[in-house]
Amino acid sequence: MNLIGLANLRFFLTTPLTTLTALLGVALGVASITAVHEIGVAIRTSLPEQARAYLPGMTHFASHPNAGMDEYFDLRGRWRAGEFEDILNMSPVVEGSVVVLDRRVDVVGTDWLALGAGGVVDPQGGSSTHINTVMASSGSGFKPAQTFELSGKQYLVRDVVPGSAPALFADIGTAQGLLNRPADHLSYIAFAQRDVFAAFKHLLERLMPGISRGVPDVTISSFGEPWQTNSLAEDQPELRLGRSVLFNLGALGTLSLVVAWILIYQICVTWLRRQLPVMQRLYAIGVSMQEIRGWFILALIVLGLLATLSGVAIGHGLSSFLLDQAARGMAASAVGVQLSGDVLIKGTFSGIVVFAVAGLFAFDRIWNARVAGRIWPAGIVLLLILVVGSLSSASGLIGGFAAILAACLLTLLALRPMLNGLKRSSWVYAGNLLNRLAVREVIWFQEDLRVALGALVLALATSIGVGLMVDSFRLDFERMLGQRLGYDLYVTSSSNRDLTSLKASVQNLPGVTRSNLYGRFELRDRGQRIEVGHSHFDAVEADRYGYGYALELDQALVSDSFLGLADARVGQTLDLAGRTIQVVGRFPGFGDMQPRVLIHDETAQQMSADLVFDRLSVNTLADKRSEVSTDLARLAEDLSITEQGAMREIALLIFDRTFAITRALTVTALLVAMFGLYNSLTALRLNQQATTSLLNAMGLTRLEKKRIDFFRATAVAFVAILASIPLGVLMAWQLCELINPRAFGWRIDLYLAWYPILLPCGLGLVAALIAGLLPGNDSTIETAALHGEMNT
């Protein structure tokens, strides 16, 4: 065997603990990358099931309030003549909802032939609709060959197609008839827009599922005034919410990727520093630098391969566990994860390629004793990105996350001047001399520690930032639940039927103090679907949304996302589908799929002819709740009755399980940083071996040596905490004020609670202490292996 290779191998074997922890560190880094990727893929896989799939291939839509079929044919003619080059296909759509057999169902009519294969109605595949025949979704409750009458016309359900949302699919004319719309009526034109970034987005999605959500949309073809064009994905609220969640996860995953890569670089630096004396001796006796470097990189690749294999296995297990936990919370079946080629490539890239490249980079810097360049030009660029990404909402999600990444990198850049500043004033530190010595070692010999310190700072700041955001979110969410769940029982029907007739019977039940009916319908405003909720909004009902007065005619309470869409403020009047509405209050609307407007029943009746009240709330005397619940269940078999306490519990459980994934990922990042820190502290202690020997000769006891280790680790944790608290608080602010409004349309009030700050700091201190107090570094074997000789 080649003697240089043998020397390398022996180095790893004679320092088993540091080799093992380095392996574990890289493996955990790869594991977090694998877990984030697989969770992202699992969420993405489940999304198409939630999205409306009746317009296959279509990407955008164009609409205006008085759109007609003649305009569609005019546009289609111009498209056929080659006017809109980037449009690949187009089809007219008539859409709305109607009450059939006491149930509200969506109606969709389009030119199924123009849509082509893959739709719910596929004329070329043998399924077609004719005049006054419809296809029904399985969620609508209709059976094949069932007939129903609406506005004096008979309709036939030709077949039932999969789909949980209650919907009827028909041709244009039949849909117009079902919706009682004129023959020229058109809701919008769906079209397929050529996306020049499609290949790039596809590649991004393979690298980090969900991250392409942050890439700006293509420029949409303009049909001229008065047409408004929008993305269909943006119009599908479930899909939009899912993608936003996915993007947030992907962006957090990118942060854990950065932490893992920093750690890998740190390990390269540490090992290189430890082997440098041996390498220099080899160089002195005539071994070429290329040969030394080659063997060093080869050793890293071998270790990287082992770390990758174990990391992918750990990550796969972690993602399965977390998804299973999240599914349990939502009483849903767990989404299966499969080990894909993409994740293997990504894991291999991080564990082997990044390891090798980081090794080459470290070798170049340390062998050639390169001094780091000036940092202020990079600092100015990062500061600009931070300011623009934070202040410009036009920069979107990608701008928000670029601002977070810029803040992280700025903090890492600031570590060097910060440590230098501490070093300059280090002679003034008072206290026990051994404590002084330990603290100064951390500050003075920062080359051994700075990278690992950076990883710890990032891990801590992410943990603080995400923790503060989740804590603030939970507080707002709990407050909202407290307001919204201001009733004792909540009643729905399994067939979504109208419950107006039930209300009178409920009101007469003994123990009932109040009951209220709720209904909702959708309308399209400013090119987007708006959910309009209506009820008898007296002062008590309005108080559930933070408004203490009864709603009057044409007054509305609106969600944050609606305010953003309409660019309006509370107190303003605005046009809503042709009616002038005064906004008298706002509410956060967490979890709302689309912008919401709440109005009084009277206003609703003037906006929509057919209202369905499919939900009912009931307040009872405190000691009569269970009796009322039993009496309610006797009134009708199809009623579903939920107690307020149970709803609150379920809502909070879902919340906690959802964010358990995020918390688990931040803890993993902290663990990865801990392993990096262990390696760095080991390097520091070995580099300070001469000092240790001197102290030993002066009669330092084992306890006093541990005391130095303790204070050294505490100093590392202190510096990391010092840098990570401001970064973490800034990150929390960015998540609450930039990311959430841009991704979901709602903002969260940031609460600076002590718990989400102190817990990560405590964990960081524990991680640093474990890394600092773990044995192995001062064993005779490792010392002998380092020095390679024993003075006699």
């Binding site: 002679w427 001399l433 003075w444 001469a690 000092t691 001197l694 000769a697 002066m698 084992r702 006699t792």
Partner: protein, 224 residues
């Protein structure tokens, strides 16, 4: 004749090298009297440093006895029967050590380096004497300097002050001038000798320099 400060009896020490024992010391005996300066001379690898490490309690004996009798103790301390922790306590309170390199803690100032043994022994009240000695050695202006800005000669002078700060009855010096040129070496030897004589300490000094050894009361020559 007074009782010896250190009595070494039939010392033996071997290191395992390539799976085979390499004998460094065998049946070695020596008495060091209070206030006596003994030079240990010999070629590299002959066991000078091993002897000092054994006396300091830094490494364990294979065979033999090391009895240490400071004035403050009524009976001799049998170093060979003590645990590593007990030897450490003896070393910190009764023995001063000076090496060829790495004599100072780089992250402590000159003043802090000298006060460190006092703090370890909880005798910080003696700091005025220790710092006064530092002034005598010509380092009065260097109290707040860190070791990296000192010359080699200055560092060894601080090391002498540090080793003597605790007034140890025994000083162990391993090639203290090996890293210095002839001029600085002579100056350091003068200071070391005068400081040791002044305090009535004994000293075991390992050196391969005949000029240094010539100042000793006795020379023990080691052979390979």
């Amino acid at each position: 004749m007074s009782e010896p400060l250190v009595r070494l009896t039939a010392l033996a020490k071997a290191f395992v090298d390539g799976g085979k024992p390499h004998v460094v010391l065998e049946d070695f005996a020596l008495d060091v009297l209070p206030g006596e300066i003994v030079a240990i001379c010999g070629a590299s690898g002959c066991g000078k440093s091993t002897l000092l490490n054994l006396v300091a309690g830094l490494i364990e004996l294979d065979h033999g006895a090391i009895d240490f009798k400071p004035v403050a103790e009524s009976t001799p301390i049998a170093l060979h029967n003590l645990s590593a922790a007990q030897r450490t306590r003896v070393r910190r309170s009764h023995i001063g050590v000076i090496f060829q390199f790495f004599n100072l803690v780089p992250t402590l100032t000159v003043r802090e380096n000298v006060l460190l043994p006092l703090q370890l022994n909880r005798t910080i009240h003696k700091s005025a004497d220790a710092l006064a000695h530092l002034v005598q050695l010509g380092l009065g202006e260097r109290f707040d300097s860190f070791p990296d800005v000192l010359s080699g000669g200055e560092r060894q002078r601080v090391a002498i002050a540090r080793a003597l700060a605790n007034d140890p009855p025994l000083l162990l010096a391993d090639e203290p001038t090996g890293n210095l040129d002839a001029e600085h070496s002579a100056a350091v030897v003068d200071l070391l000798w005068s400081s040791v004589r002044e305090r009535q300490s004994a000293m075991l000094i390992a050196t391969h320099s005949e000029a240094v050894a010539a100042h000793a009361d006795r020379i023990v020559q080691f052979e390979r």
